[in-house]
Symmetry: C2
Subunit: 308 residues, 2 copies
Amino acid sequence: MSHIDEWAPRAFDGDPRALGRLISIVENGGDGVREIAAAFAARAGRAQVVGLTGSPGVGKSTTTTALVSAYRAQGRRVAVLAVDPSSPFSGGAILGDRVRMQEHATDPDVYIRSMSSRGHLGGLSATTPQAVRVLEGAGFDVILIETVGVGQAEVDIAGLADTTLVLLAPGMGDGIQAVKAGILEVADVFVINKADRDGADATYRDIRSMMALVTREPHEWRQPIVKTVAHRVEGIDELVEAIDKHHTWLGEHGELARRRLARARAEVTAIVLGTLASRYSVSEGLSAKVADGELDPYAAADEVLAAS
Amino acid sequence: MSHIDEWAPRAFDGDPRALGRLISIVENGGDGVREIAAAFAARAGRAQVVGLTGSPGVGKSTTTTALVSAYRAQGRRVAVLAVDPSSPFSGGAILGDRVRMQEHATDPDVYIRSMSSRGHLGGLSATTPQAVRVLEGAGFDVILIETVGVGQAEVDIAGLADTTLVLLAPGMGDGIQAVKAGILEVADVFVINKADRDGADATYRDIRSMMALVTREPHEWRQPIVKTVAHRVEGIDELVEAIDKHHTWLGEHGELARRRLARARAEVTAIVLGTLASRYSVSEGLSAKVADGELDPYAAADEVLAAS
């Protein structure tokens, strides 16, 4: 796979074609992934990684676009990785959303990429860290990872990002459904987008009441709630400020190092499990015995493990 | 774990306390899981398993409640497993939703249970099949599995159910976001709930246009689109009919056997991987080397695999 020797240096310089090529290799889980990891290892941990998650329709894409503009105004180079955990397609998976990003299409200091994680063992946790490594290697100051936020994907994003934004919007289902208890654990910053709509205050109160249920020590991070109207670029500077404040807090409390250590461990674990999974296979005959109730699945698993 | 010998026969008779106890053991991943699997193996594959998925706010819980009533009117015994992939809590996780199910609380032929899958390796795919086995063992005619439908959870549900319902509602984000390409793969029946609202026809057209992009052979299943207003119990009989029609189609085309074989294989694979994961651990020191860029994650994984 010597072409990686050729593409990696170009990617270090931020060449979008080289970045695209390498991330495609990561996405497809090809042989080159290992070589890419080796080439990019020494350039790890330089970017500020921001996760952005929320239900469909809360305005993730619009908010991402507005954040990109705000970072560019500060002179920071920004990469966006839009991960779609439910799409079987790669590259153009969420093209509909990406069309809105056209205003940044000609800016060489902005790189935008859609990526599918479906079908990979471990989903997001297996491929996204490698793509982040490639973007870090290319010297981006900020890497924004955007994903639909329900279930494991949002937990994975939180494990990968330094700062995780959870977006909510007024009127997206009732409070109990929109502000699930699990969200409190993953959010570093809450964003109420479409805050000009009816119900924004109710959403604000829902978050507050949920936060009130958790006891925090004085030194612990208390999630701010930022109101935005992303399509009118309102509240975006305040959001950037909240993100940076959290990043500073992470550094001052040793949390940044702790999170990056946990991330490295999760990354290695995902590779170990992927490798192991490829070594074991469950035969048709054994599956049929389980389906027919002749064998329970644990006894079948014992057979698989003993046979390898 | 001899108490399973005691609870299993009671569960076979549908005793809700025994069911609750056994499903809690499954949910917590305790030692008894293996024993439960052995006790229930021979009673596998008797129920019709229906998955129900959709974004927050589309009316999953209301639709589930209406379906339960419709099945009861036909004299069928129904179990509901409400799986919350984002909640760290068990049992009472989505109590808010369950409150609406109170009308069935005193019916001995209805069993309703919330379950968290978070934190388990493999999420839904690891614990839900075992819970379904317990409910099948208890002789329920229909098992409804309800989950928030984005990402891996919805793919897992589709892998577990005979028939998967994808619920949409008008005005939940624009068409591109709501009707993601991935949904076409998991849906056996589309349900447009809240069909009395503005935009129901637009949602219908969105689904139709997406379906038109896929070429189907004459013998292949063509997903019906059922319009419902679940809170007024409108369209529910049509939905039950669509589900049963699909189930008949599955049987006639050998698909039911094929799906149950795939399900058994996935179940065994999840157990194999869970067992393997518990045998390998990534040390703090190795994680630190990866975080600091001294070692790439693949090289670190090699060390872990070689050491065990």
